[in-house]
Each structure stands twice: as structure tokens, then as C-alpha cells.
């Protein structure tokens, strides 16, 4: 057999192996993506005829004050969630890395919430937030003689209250990734710093944090995307899954869900998914830029 036929045979095998997956990716990923863009340009109630209306949905959307509230909420989850969760997880990872006694046990305690089901935990936290005599937090505060919190019933406290279980559940992942990043820093750097007489703070800011830059970029991007897509907690912790009170907790994905599957305004919902897509795209491009710059 000549070399050419072997190469050809291999190529045939490659396409045989990929035939089913390729059809799948085209049918279940590419076609739906294009379809989403296409639906976003229509006025469609899912049963009737699709009517193409150009960019009207986007115009309506950007003139809708509720949509701006929803976008504001979505970014509030991000702006509160990312720094708080990264700061907490870094501090825990930084110190946990120095501890040997009970290390595995402590790490497990921090990690386990990451494995929980968001829906289940949303209901646990919802219970905690109830007024006395039901809610654990207010019950404990009451026994300490501290004033009660309204939590989910308040337009200002509800969003942080819904965000808390999302941060809580994500910490374990971030801690484990941070610890892997810390382990990857060569010990010789620290030894050199010690020889040069650098203190703990100086070592942290001049060696540890710069060395962790790729890890931090990765976690900022991953957690940003996660907080922008928050849904399970809001749906399960607010009255009737409405994202209330008074839309105070409603994020973009819940708004999309309501538009598509409660009101069957498919065009409007698809237009919002395009907005979400563009926001996430900006973040991904930012990540690629930063990482390329590093290399």
C-alpha cells in the first residue's frame, strides 16, 4: 500500500468518527444560534406567523424602564458578587494553604457547598431569611437582642440576600482554584524574598499576587459570567419566582424566561438573549486580550 492511500484511509476514518457529532453540533448549536438572532428580529407569539420587524424589539427594549432596572440588577449581582467572592476565597485559600493540621477536613467544608443543588439551597436560605419565629437568622438575632431584618421582603435588602447563597456556593470552587495557583508558584521565589528580607505583606503584593495574575483573570471571568447568568436562586427565593419585590431582584435571565415562557413574546425574549450574548462576548474578549498580553 502506498503512503497516500494510508493518509486517505485515515481521513475517511476521521470523517466517519465525526459525522454524527458534526450533524449534532450543526443542528443543536449552530442552527439554534442563528435562529435566536433571527427570532430577535421578529414579532412572534410562538403559535402565529413570524413577522419580521427589523430592530424594533431592541428599540422597544432600550426604551423600557423595566428593562433598565433588570440590566441594573444584573450588573449589581456582578459588581457585588465578583469582588466579595474573590476577596473571601483568596483570603481563605491564602491561609488554608499554610495550614497542615486538619487541612483536608477544612478544605472539604469549604468545598462541599459547591456541590449542592442551587434550587435546594435557595429554599434553605429562603427559610433562613424568614421573619421570626420561622427564620433562623432573625431568630438568632432576636435572642441576641438585635433588631430584625426584612431580607427578602425589602426592596433594598432582597438583592444581596438572593446573592448570598450564590456567593456561598461558588466559594469552594474559587478556593480550590486559588490554592492550585498558589501551589504552582515556585518555592525558590519565596526563598529569594526571604533572603532579601521581604516581609509577609511585601511577599504577598510583589510575588504572590503578580504570580497569581492568570488565576485571578480566569476567576474574574468565570465568576462574572456566573453572576450575570444568575437565575436559579432568584426564581426560587422570590414570591412566585417573579424577581420581586417590585422587580428589585429580577435579573436578565429571569426576564428572558418570563418574556418567552409566560408571555410568549418570543421576539422580545430572543432580543434580550442577544443582549446577554453581547455582554458575555465583551467579557470573553477581555479575557483573551489580557491573557494574550501576558504571553
Amino acid at each position: 500500500m502506498s503512503k497516500r492511500t494510508i493518509a486517505q484511509k485515515r481521513a475517511i476514518w476521521a470523517w466517519v468518527f465525526m459525522a454524527v457529532p458534526l450533524v449534532y453540533f450543526i443542528l443543536v448549536r449552530f442552527y439554534p444560534t442563528l435562529d435566536a438572532f433571527s427570532i430577535s428580529l421578529t414579532d412572534w407569539n410562538i403559535v402565529g406567523e413570524k413577522r419580521y420587524i427589523g430592530f424594533d424589539n431592541f428599540v422597544v427594549l432600550f426604551n423600557d424602564p423595566v428593562f433598565w432596572v433588570v440590566l441594573g440588577n444584573t450588573f449589581e449581582y456582578l459588581i457585588l458578587g465578583v469582588p466579595i467572592s474573590l476577596l473571601l476565597s483568596f483570603i481563605i485559600a491564602y491561609y488554608l494553604d499554610q495550614i497542615r493540621f486538619g487541612h483536608g477536613f477544612l478544605r472539604a467544608c469549604y468545598f462541599i457547598p459547591f456541590l449542592t443543588t442551587a434550587v435546594a439551597m435557595a429554599w434553605v436560605w429562603r427559610w433562613f431569611y424568614q421573619p421570626v419565629p420561622i427564620g433562623m437568622i432573625n431568630l438568632a438575632l432576636g435572642q441576641l437582642g438585635i433588631a430584625q431584618f426584612e431580607f427578602l421582603r425589602s426592596t433594598t435588602q432582597a438583592l444581596p440576600a438572593v446573592l448570598a447563597p450564590a456567593i456561598w456556593a461558588g466559594l469552594g470552587f474559587q478556593i480550590v482554584i486559588f490554592m492550585a495557583g498558589l501551589r504552582a508558584i515556585p518555592k525558590t521565589y519565596y526563598e529569594a524574598a526571604k533572603v532579601d528580607g521581604a516581609g509577609a505583606w511585601q511577599t504577598l503584593t510583589e510575588i504572590t499576587l503578580p504570580q497569581l495574575r492568570p488565576t485571578i483573570v480566569f476567576l474574574v471571568v468565570i465568576s462574572s459570567i456566573g453572576f450575570l447568568r444568575i437565575f436559579d436562586q432568584v426564581y426560587n427565593m422570590t414570591q412566585e419566582g417573579e424577581g420581586g419585590p417590585l422587580n428589585a431582584t429580577r435579573p436578565l435571565v429571569l426576564h428572558i424566561y418570563k418574556a418567552a415562557f409566560d408571555d410568549f413574546e418570543m421576539g422580545m425574549a430572543a432580543a434580550q438573549t442577544v443582549v446577554l450574548f453581547l455582554i458575555l462576548m465583551v467579557i470573553t474578549v477581555f479575557q483573551l486580550r489580557v491573557l494574550r498580553h501576558d504571553r
Binding site: W15, P32, Y95, A118, V176, Y235
Partner: protein
């Protein structure tokens, strides 16, 4: 670095104490959830963790009078079927892209990689319409079809198959082993760590998935645990001990898996997180 014989510094003790308090806080919701699931309705207002008369009645009620068992089996089946499919197809594609030279290889890889940029939320509307047109709404196939292959898995597996030496595969070819057998019997066993990471990710992701199952299912027989729990909790409103029992049942499987596979899970998360 200090060695083990060095006296324990007060600083270390303070750090340890704070970390321990943090760990307790982290576990509090899970502990209280399990605690409430063993209490009667009138005891859940007490802060005591173990009630004076613990009961299994919530669990018995849950499994006898609600459809929780059904949802549990649905979730297990959906997560298992999806995981098996993802493991097979994602590694087949990853292997082909890593180990075969052919025209269009780069384009196929870039196309599959680009699907990672598309958020699920953007696809659920077209998926819903696709499922409706194919008569798959409110069915198991409808639940499963969006996840049976993933761009992430293909990418992960390609990275790992690239580390498999060509010599191994060529040796098998000289022995006359068929291409498919080479994939299953020679290449697959060499990437078991990556496969287990992918399996863990896929299973967990499907066990906890909420948005798509919520959209595609409408009758209670097809619900998965998260969808069932959400509707069940909406109905049971103030019976928190029942809701906590449901939440505990939803959480238990992943906790058990974690207890047995802790090492692999954490390693898998790091592997998947950093390579993906």
C-alpha cells in the same frame, strides 16, 4: 520552610481558629437543612440541631405521598445517560481532532470551540421550538438532547489526547487493530483522569440543571429533582420541614459521591477549571 518539629506558633493557632469558624459557617446551611428534615413541624422553630425526638416521618411522607422518588429516578437517569453520551462522543471527537491529520481539521475545531461562546440562555428558545416541532416537549429525549455532546468536553479531551504518543497507536495499527478499537482499547485508557474529570462535571451539571428542565417539562412524571423541588416547595409554602427534607434528598447524592471520590472531584475541578 518550617518543619513539623517547630513549635506551633500562636499565629498559626489564630489562623486555624478563624478558618475553622469559617468552615462551620460554610456548613451551617447544609447542617440546618438536614437537622430540620428530622424534625416535626412544631420543632423547626427551635435552634437546637438535634431535636428531642428525631423522626423519619418527613422522609416517609416524601417518598410515599409525593412524586419525589420518581423525580429522583428521572434525575439519575438523565444525568447518567447524558454523562455516558458526553464521555463517548466528546472523547471520540477530541481524539479525532488530536490524532488524525485531514483537511478541514482546524475549521472543525474552531467551529466546535466557538460554541463555548454561546450561552445556554440564548439557545433555550430555539431548542424549545425545535423540541415542539419534533414532538419532544415534556419527554426524556427533550430533556437530554441539548446536552449529549459539549464543546467544553471536546476541547478538554483533545488537550489530553494530544499527550498520547503516536507510537502506541501505530503499534496497534501494525498489529492490525481496527481504528475504532484503537480508540476504545488503546487511547481511552490512557486519558482516564480527563475522562473522570469530564464525568464528574457532566454528572454534577446535569444533576443540578434547572433552567432547561423547567422549560421543557410540564407534567410531574417527567420532572427532574430541581424542577420537582421548586414546584413542590411552592405548594408546601410554610411546611419548611418538608421543603428541607426535599432539599436534603436533592443534596444527598452529590454529598455521598463527594465522600467517596473527594480526591478525584477536587483534582477534576482543578483540571477542568484550568484546562477548560
Amino acid at each position: 520552610m518550617t518543619d513539623n518539629k517547630a513549635p506551633i506558633s500562636p499565629k498559626k493557632i489564630i489562623i486555624w481558629t478563624f478558618l475553622f469558624i469559617g468552615a462551620v459557617i460554610m456548613m451551617t446551611p447544609i447542617i440546618f437543612m438536614f437537622s430540620a428534615s428530622f424534625k416535626y413541624n412544631d420543632q423547626i422553630y427551635e435552634l437546637a440541631l438535634i431535636s428531642s425526638e428525631p423522626t423519619l416521618s418527613n422522609y416517609i411522607y416524601l417518598f410515599e405521598n409525593t412524586e419525589f422518588l420518581r423525580w429522583f429516578l428521572n434525575s439519575i437517569s438523565v444525568a447518567l445517560a447524558t454523562t455516558i453520551s458526553v464521555l463517548f462522543f466528546d472523547s471520540l471527537v477530541g481524539y479525532t481532532l488530536a490524532k488524525f491529520k485531514f483537511k478541514g481539521r482546524k475549521i472543525v475545531f474552531v467551529l466546535i470551540l466557538s460554541t463555548l461562546m454561546i450561552p445556554t440562555e440564548m439557545l433555550v428558545i430555539p431548542w424549545y421550538i425545535l423540541a415542539r416541532d419534533l414532538g419532544l416537549l415534556d419527554s426524556y429525549i427533550g430533556l437530554i438532547f441539548p446536552g449529549i455532546m459539549t464543546g467544553f468536553g471536546v476541547f478538554l479531551m483533545k488537550q489530553f489526547f494530544e499527550g498520547v504518543p503516536d507510537d502506541y497507536l501505530d503499534a496497534a495499527r501494525i498489529d492490525g487493530v481496527g481504528e475504532f478499537r484503537i480508540f476504545t482499547d488503546v487511547a481511552m485508557p490512557l486519558v482516564v483522569p480527563a475522562l473522570s474529570a469530564l464525568a464528574i462535571f457532566t454528572f454534577l451539571g446535569n444533576w443540578t440543571a434547572f433552567l432547561w428542565p423547567l422549560i421543557v417539562t410540564s407534567s410531574a412524571e417527567i420532572y427532574t429533582v430541581p424542577v420537582g423541588l421548586a414546584s413542590f416547595s411552592g405548594e408546601f409554602q410554610s411546611e419548611w420541614e418538608m421543603i428541607m427534607t426535599g432539599a436534603a434528598v436533592a443534596t444527598l447524592p452529590t454529598l455521598i459521591i463527594f465522600l467517596f471520590l473527594q480526591r478525584y472531584i477536587i483534582r477534576g475541578v482543578i483540571l477542568g477549571g484550568l484546562k477548560g
